[in-house]
């Protein structure tokens, strides 16, 4: 087999024993790679009811069959584990350089079990594989940790690590790689922290052998040229990264504002892509082998929010910015830098602070408890909360549990805008009904990356759908979920892979993606087969969720009962009842959302 190394590195942190295993080629093919392989192993190896922060949880880093190949954006890995935030499955994706370097060690996947008695990091340079003490790194942020590890190993190495938030088991802790990239969501950094695993350092020269190197090169060059031609015409993603999106969602009235109390933000011009570009952009920073290059190096040159780093992305602007009612761009950029340094998911961080702000304004939490006033729009208080949260100090102890537990503790669960206890990303589903169905049914709790139907409802990719209607949305959500499972398993970035995964008539066969997978692996997938494999992955993730005991597919109170007060979607709530039964039927699930025996058999999945 090609494309995959078919090698897993297993690290038992309790015993410090490290083993190498081969992957069954049939499993490799049936589960694609990346996210697909990871759920296959996770489902087999751990009790889904185990405490996510206990040694029984299994933490998996998984690359795909296109990672470290010439395929444009073949630079991703997935972090898959049980989430301490949601109690459900976590799968978080990241790019940059580390994933490519990880695959060049000669392993497709690292599996971490147990818990080390002392802080350690894993160093892998092909056959040189060592667990080393990380006592000197404990307490350091993700940037310092990365610098120290590169200095003490090799400038050629790449680092994934946690910051203080992960060490302190804050439930919004991310795993940072290459300093600024994050496998962010669902508290994967807290799982790493619970295992006393501070970092993973990877290097090597073992590119995966390719089935058809010449064919792969030609297709990759052609794809790069196509993307490059679009960029030349003027691509928003190149010019602005995702920071152009607030203007789009504000226009549609679905920009989360003040904890979803509103769908438009009156100060959007202060914090949009143009403001960022004109004031703080230095240059573009691509992930490895990406012709689009949506990342941005930015700097606030002076003043109280002085700093340098990458971003912010749209999801950060819509959470720490509009979500908190914050219109001071320098403070928002600084908040983003802090999250990257402490190693935190900006969505859950921002929306938890937003929930606290609403509770403060409504008198549900006092100034004494918080330690300061916490009004919407108070950017200095927002920054103070991030620090408290990362270190779990004072009120930060409450914040570090996420908005659901915070709102529940203070007697107002209706304030939390979450599903499966995970905070919503930057699309108010009352004005984008398909996103409502997605958030409600997502196996990992609210997440756009579970199957971003906003591509159609908001961005018109590949075709524009009316975001306010429910007709056709169940089918759309299913297709996007399966397509994202495919892209996340392949090792490509969705921003570019979406071009290979969809046609203009939205059908349904990912011709070019299947071709790339074949050129890499030689697995001779038909386009139909890769979609079935993706559906297999999605259904197995569903089974993990069900066994973890978190099955109800619903939405928080605000989305079902409080109509949007402003903007084009004024008066709307999510009409979930209109969509859910049809979605279950399309999925081959019963009326409780459980895959039927017939569906499991059809996909070749275990029946128990």
């Amino acid at each position: 087999m090609y494309g995959w190394h078919l090698k897993v590195l297993r690290v038992n942190l309790t015993t410090q024993k490290i083993t190498q295993e081969d992957v069954d080629p049939k499993i490799a093919r049936d589960y694609l790679g990346g996210r697909g392989w990871a759920i296959h192993y996770l489902y087999k190896e751990m009790d889904p009811m185990a405490d996510a922060l206990s040694p029984e949880n299994v933490l998996i880093f998984a690359t795909g069959p296109l990672t470290a190949t010439p395929a444009p954006t073949g630079n991703r890995y997935m972090v898959v584990t049980k989430s301490p935030l949601t109690g459900a499955l976590a799968h978080s994706n990241s790019g940059g350089e580390f994933p490519t370097w990880m695959k060049r060690t000669g392993f497709d996947m690292f599996i971490f079990e147990g818990k080390s008695s002392k802080p350690v990091y894993l160093f892998v340079n092909e056959d040189q594989i060592e667990l080393r003490s990380a006592v000197h790194l404990w307490g350091k942020d993700a940037h310092e940790t990365t610098d120290i590890l590169k200095a003490e190993t090799s400038a050629e190495a790449r680092v994934a690590c946690i910051g203080q938030a992960g060490e302190n088991l804050a439930l919004m802790a991310a795993i940072m790689n290459d300093k600024h990239r994050a496998a962010a969501r669902s508290g994967v950094g807290a799982v790493m922290g619970s295992k006393n695993l501070k970092a993973v350092v990877a290097m090597g020269n073992k590119n995966p052998p390719l089935h058809d190197p010449e064919g792969m090169r030609t297709l990759s060059v052609n794809t790069s040229k196509e993307v490059g031609a679009d960029v030349k015409k003027g691509s928003n993603m190149r010019i602005y990264g995702t920071s152009y999106v607030p203007q789009v969602t504000n226009t549609l009235g679905i920009l989360p504002t003040r904890n979803f109390l509103q769908g438009t933000f009156e100060h959007v011009n202060n914090i949009d892509g143009d403001a960022l570009k004109n004031q703080y952009l230095i240059r573009h920073t691509p992930c490895y082998r990406c012709p689009l290059s949506c990342g941005r190096l930015t700097e606030v040159p002076d003043g109280p929010y002085k700093g340098k780093g990458e971003g912010p992305e749209y999801e950060t602007i819509s959470s720490l910015g509009t979500g908190c009612g914050v219109s001071n761009l320098a403070a928002l950029v600084k908040a983003n830098y802090l999250c990257n340094e402490y190693g935190m998911d900006t969505i859950t961080t921002g929306m938890t602070i937003a929930a606290a702000m609403e509770m403060y304004e409504k008198g549900y939490i006092s100034e004494e408890i918080i330690g300061m006033p916490l009004k919407f729009g108070d950017h200095d208080a927002m920054i103070a909360m991030i620090k408290l949260m990362a270190f779990r100090e004072g009120f930060g102890e409450d914040l570090a549990q996420g908005s659901y537990r915070l709102a529940e503790k203070y007697g107002h669960p209706e304030i939390a805008v979450t599903t499966r206890k995970q905070e919503f990303p930057g699309y108010d589903p009352r004005g984008s009904q398909g996103m409502g169905l997605l958030y409600a049914t997502s196996n990992k709790g609210a997440s756009h990356m579970e199957g971003d139907v906003a591509y159609e409802e908001v961005f018109g990719v590949p075709v524009k759908e009316n975001p306010l209607t429910t007709e056709g949305k169940p089918e759309l959500v299913k297709h996007f979920e399966d397509s994202f499972a495919l892209m996340d398993s392949s090792g490509l970035c969705v921003f570019v892979a979406i071009r290979y995964a969809f046609n203009k008539d939205r059908m349904i066969l990912p011709l070019r993606l299947a071709e790339m997978m074949n050129l890499s692996t030689g697995a001779q997938y038909s386009p139909e087969e890769v979609m079935i494999a993706a559906e297999r992955v999605y259904n197995l993730e569903r089974m993990f969720l069900i066994k973890a005991g978190s099955t109800e597919d619903t939405l928080p109170y605000r989305m079902l009962h409080e109509p949007l007060p402003d903007g084009p979607a004024k008066g709307k709530v999510v009409e979930l009842d209109k969509m859910l039964p049809e979605f279950y039927a399309l999925r081959g699930w019963d009326e409780k959302g459980v895959p039927t025996k017939q569906k499991l058999m059809e996909l070749g999945l275990p029946l128990n």
């Binding site: 003027g234 789009v248 226009t251 009235g253 892509g273 999801e315 756009h448 084009p568």
Partner: protein, 79 residues
């Protein structure tokens, strides 16, 4: 009658200098449609653009009313 056109991100290059934050006021004849209003700007009018009226998905032949805002942006996967 006066209407507004808002262009987002890279499309803003097509706006006249008097535009503020991507928005320009236009005086158009009664009966002007969404399509006619947006055709005044050099942006693609195919499915590589998303064009909405007051934030809503409408037919391009919809006639405008006083104070309406037509917004256009380039269709690209983001967020």
């Amino acid at each position: 009658m006066m209407i507004q056109v808002k262009l987002i991100a890279n499309y803003r290059e097509q706006l006249p200098p008097e535009a503020i934050n991507g928005v320009v006021e236009l005086d158009v004849p009664d009966g002007t449609t969404v399509y006619q209003a947006i055709s005044r700007f050099d942006i693609p009018l195919d499915d590589t653009s998303v064009i909405v009226l007051n934030g809503l998905t409408v037919d391009m032949s919809t006639p405008l009313s006083v104070g309406d805002m037509v917004t256009a942006f380039s269709a690209i996967a983001g967020g």
